[in-house]
Symmetry: C2
Subunit: 601 residues, 2 copies
């Protein structure tokens, strides 16, 4: 076996799982965000893939393999070419020798929709559910964390085609069950959460999060188990606002109070009584830029993803596309917009009309949004739209015009009360997204003309769903959830091997003989076993076995004098002396029991 | 199942296997040379992959997965970046968001060598043999024949690292055995042949050819089984030259004799007595162009691949790289070379020095080669280097200077005598190359500095081999070798399903009941079975079963009245009536016996 462990943490690895996979010789970096999966890693990936495959097949899905090279024309048909190559730019593209543009597939909605358009003609062929396990590509802005956010990674992606919403909902629920099974069988602690649909589009979507401290995502949930959502999507009831002390409307001089803290201190008021006004620059993918002013309660934060979604909903009105980049502007950034910049820190919700007139760029140019929870405030404090001044005792529709669009763009936070039950408060956890299921609806089938004839003989667009599992990410997430100071602790179901036999002294013929015999017997009985017969000190071999994280270590050491071997469980560190004749049956039984426990959870 | 068969041949398919795979719904074209593998095809590919995997594992190889995105730097280190992106241009490349050049892997010598360089330190870690099954990319000049010459295709590629030639030879032979097993187990008629190493480089190499009329390659072999080679590589003894009738050297006026036929007719001589002189333009990948004059017997042809190899060997002398494009020049093409073009059809082997002086381009500018079999001629006929004139009765070293380089650049032909035994003559067959094994030697390890410390403590370059199987090509080659007018005839071992149950009339409850029961029983017993319960006429279903080529068709028709079903063998069309209770055991036995026969051949 090509096997090499490293003593020291690699310099460029930030999180434990990345360090451990490099140190233990599972992966090797070939380029930025690009890794070779060495033999141990490949076995893990094959095990994860096999679990995925079994659960997908059990749900009636058919495996296929779609091309990685995708003609640009397909992406232009769906309207995503610009979004993926320019605005977000996360798709690699290239020109072939005939100067034709090709995409390197980050996802396959376009390809599968064109196949469905060709092959599905009648409701009698429906539903259809196809999946593939494949390497995908994303030109990440910042590839990091090893396999967590790579530029080349392995995904299982599935696509469903249904006659109607009800049938789509059924397939979606089947996939929900399959995904729960996959994660349970892989031995992972996870949570399924409501999620934002992002650039994929569509309506309902849920994410499957492997819980781990280093997770890039924050999950908010209630302890009653009734609610869990990605923070990007989460909703809540905000804390009650305190009653305002200002009963009269008045403009006050408030020098040096650009931040909420300073205003509150200066005016001796609660931040819940304040309306802050945050300016965003939004770039739609047709090149249009728009300034957006969001008014929100002083103690709350804007959720960028929600804001992006709300703007996307508004965009068609302005003939703009769906993708948005948000940047908190500074005075310099404002200069390209208006001859007279807004007084940051003192902006009013209803920015004076003369400012709007001074905005140089194209219509609509300026949008005013208010977060719904800010609309309830009475006698509030807000900016006077003049540097160094605020107003107090203001009311919507009286001294201050209510912005045209009242929306939910507030970030839910741990400690907020839950909407479904105000007795419950939101708790926070970190998670690694390893699965995502979407109800796409007719977004792609309408754009690409994928229709079928229904029972009544009418031509209808196909209803679609899509369902992804990050196979390579799941494998690393397992490590992130399960390791100790000595190395990886693989769940039995996805460990590269079930057992490792360590020969403490390879010059001891009896140790070697027993080890080799056990090695053959175990492998024949389906207990996948490694044999460490390297000419190294026992200590080095024990360390390596711990590092690579094989669930059971068998040592042909002193105990063989009594016809026994030592078997150490990696996870609990429990040591057992087991009669040599019983090793195969004991291990087989342990492995079976762990696996069937996970299946039946 | 997503299943759709077409009645008519698709317009763009040229060979039977390509037409059949499209018509039977196995593949779907997504772009030029790019196909989706639909569920039936994916099952075939999985079966081929599994056979490959088992044979590779049995030979002690370790499976891994290397990146498809490869940093350009690695290819520059090995010296192949220009060759692959410019001169041959068969590698796709792209720039990422940070403007870094990336290759899309057509092969993985560079990646595996960099891993070996990092991980292999001592002879104690050797030999190593790693493989992967992966989608590869080639920007083919002319993608065609479906999966045969695609731009995206599935390969198994393996790489070995050895301490010395002897160990490499051993691994190479192991791979030879593994490859023979793979093809035999897949149920294919094949031939292993000596092959040219091409751009991969290295010394010994053999190809595995699936024999089929539509094969792109020509194989020359002897009936005694002692010799087989790709025509690009083949050697032979030429037919004896007839004795020359011209005993005196003389220049003759031979008007209008630009072709060999015309000269022979005019001078009433055999083409075996003639030395023809063929001009080539050679472009090395450093941009250098060289004119090459090849003198060869009049009845023989130049083998471009051999010529290319000979020039490559000469190239280092001229500081040029290995890749060459050859074009038979015309007067117009010559104009860029020399002020006075050579008289095509009348060129002499030792082209006058004044011509060479007139060659405008850089040194060496002009090379003269002679094929070895032409050096034996006495009193031969050849061009006089003057339009409309030949010389007769010429001899090397007397009237004609022998070119500096005497090499084998002659194309072997069917009917030639074999070198190993002149009693044997070469026969011709067409083949599809599905496997290729190479002894690379130290080409990559020296270029990239991949060394190890040997037993004597010396630092040595690793010896390498590489071994490829075209998995998707093999699958299509199986069809090309085995079909009839009604459709595909899959070998049992790689058929997508072993059996298909056709219910002639789905309104007959008894037919349906028996079919569904058999369907469950067969699949439970490991006989992979499809159930055709579509509401279609029996004839349509029989036609589809034949087209998709499932080995055994089970029909729950009339015979069920006697407790039997009809089982039809796709290949022989033999029909059997089998008691329903015996169907599972009978089919299991048939399948086992076909598979074990192929294993033990």
């Amino acid at each position: 076996m090509l096997f090499l462990t490293l003593r020291d943490d690699p310099a460029d690895a930030e999180i434990p799982s990345h360090k451990l996979l490099l140190r233990a010789g599972y992966i090797r970096r070939i380029g930025s965000g690009v890794y070779a999966y060495l033999p141990l890693m490949w076995r893990v990936l094959q095990k994860v893939s096999q679990i995925v495959r079994e659960e997908m097949n059990a749900a009636g899905a058919q495996e296929c393999l779609l091309p990685q090279l995708q003609p640009a024309d397909l992406w232009k048909e769906s309207g995503r070419w610009d979004t993926y190559t320019k605005a977000e730019g996360i798709m690699f593209s290239l020109k072939d020798r005939r100067d034709q543009e090709q995409a390197l597939g980050p996802t396959h909605e376009e390809v599968i929709t064109t196949i469905a358009r060709d092959m599905i003609r009648s409701y009698r062929q429906l539903p259809q559910l196809l999946y593939q396990i494949q390497t995908k590509f994303r030109d990440e802005i910042r590839p990091r964390f090893g396999l967590m956010r790579g530029r080349e990674f392995i995904m299982k992606d599935a696509y469903s085609f249904n006659v109607d919403e009800e049938s789509l909902e059924k397939t979606y629920q089947d996939m929900h069950i399959a995904y729960s099974n996959i994660l349970r069988r892989s031995g992972l602690a996870f949570r399924d959460v409501q999620a934002d649909s992002g650039a994929i589009g569509g309506s309902a979507s849920q994410e499957f999060m492997v819980l781990a401290e280093a997770g890039e995502d924050e999950v908010l949930y209630t302890k009653d188990g009734q609610y869990a959502a990605n923070v990007e999507k989460a909703v809540s009831l905000p804390p009650d606002a305190q009653p305002s002390a200002f009963t009269n409307y008045e403009k006050r001089e408030t020098p040096g109070t650009e931040t909420i803290e300073k205003v509150c201190e200066f005016l001796k008021c609660s931040s819940t009584q304040l309306v802050k006004n945050v300016l965003y620059e939004t770039i739609f993918d047709n090149g249009t830029s728009v300034l957006v002013l969001v008014s929100i309660r002083g103690d709350q934060e804007v959720n960028d993803v929600k804001l992006q979604n709300e703007l996307t909903k508004l965009a068609p009105k302005y003939d703009a596309k769906t993708v948005i980049k948000l940047a908190v502007p500074d005075t310099e950034a404002q200069a390209k917009w208006a001859s007279k910049p807004l007084p940051l820190g003192y902006i009013a919700p209803d920015v004076a009309d003369d400012y709007i007139k001074s905005v140089k760029n194209i219509a609509p140019g300026f949008l005013r949004l208010v977060d719904k929870t800010a609309t309830d405030l009475k006698n509030f404090v807000t900016g006077a739209n003049e540097s160094g001044y605020h107003v107090v005792g203001a009311n919507w529709g009286e001294q201050v015009k209510l912005p045209e669009f009242a929306v939910d763009v507030r970030k839910a936070r741990p400690g907020d009360r839950a909407k479904h039950n105000p007795e419950q408060t939101l708790e926070s956890a970190r998670g690694i997204e390893v699965g995502h299921i979407f109800q796409l609806g007719t977004k792609y089938s309408i754009a690409m003309g994928a229709t079928f004839t229904n029972e009544q003989g009418e031509e209808k667009p196909l209803l679609m769903g899509c369902y992804g599992v990050g196979v390579s990410r799941l494998a690393q997430a397992a490590v992130e959830q399960s390791y100790d100071k000595d190395g990886i602790i693989w769940p039995v179901a996805i460990a590269p091997y079930h057992a490792i036999i360590t020969i403490p002294n390879i010059n001891d013929a009896q140790q070697v003989e027993i080890a080799e015999k056990l090695y053959t017997q175990l492998n024949q009985a389906g207990v996948e076993t490694l044999l460490d017969d390297r000419n190294e000190r026992a200590g080095v071999k024990f360390k390596d076995a711990d590092l690579i994280g094989i669930p059971y270590r068998i040592v042909t050491g002193r105990a063989i004098a009594n016809g026994k071997v030592e078997v150490v469980e990696r996870k609990s560190r429990k040591s057992h002396e087991i009669a040599i004749a019983d090793v195969v049956s004991t291990l087989n039984q342990w492995i079976q029991s762990v696996n069937s426990e996970q299946r039946s959870q």
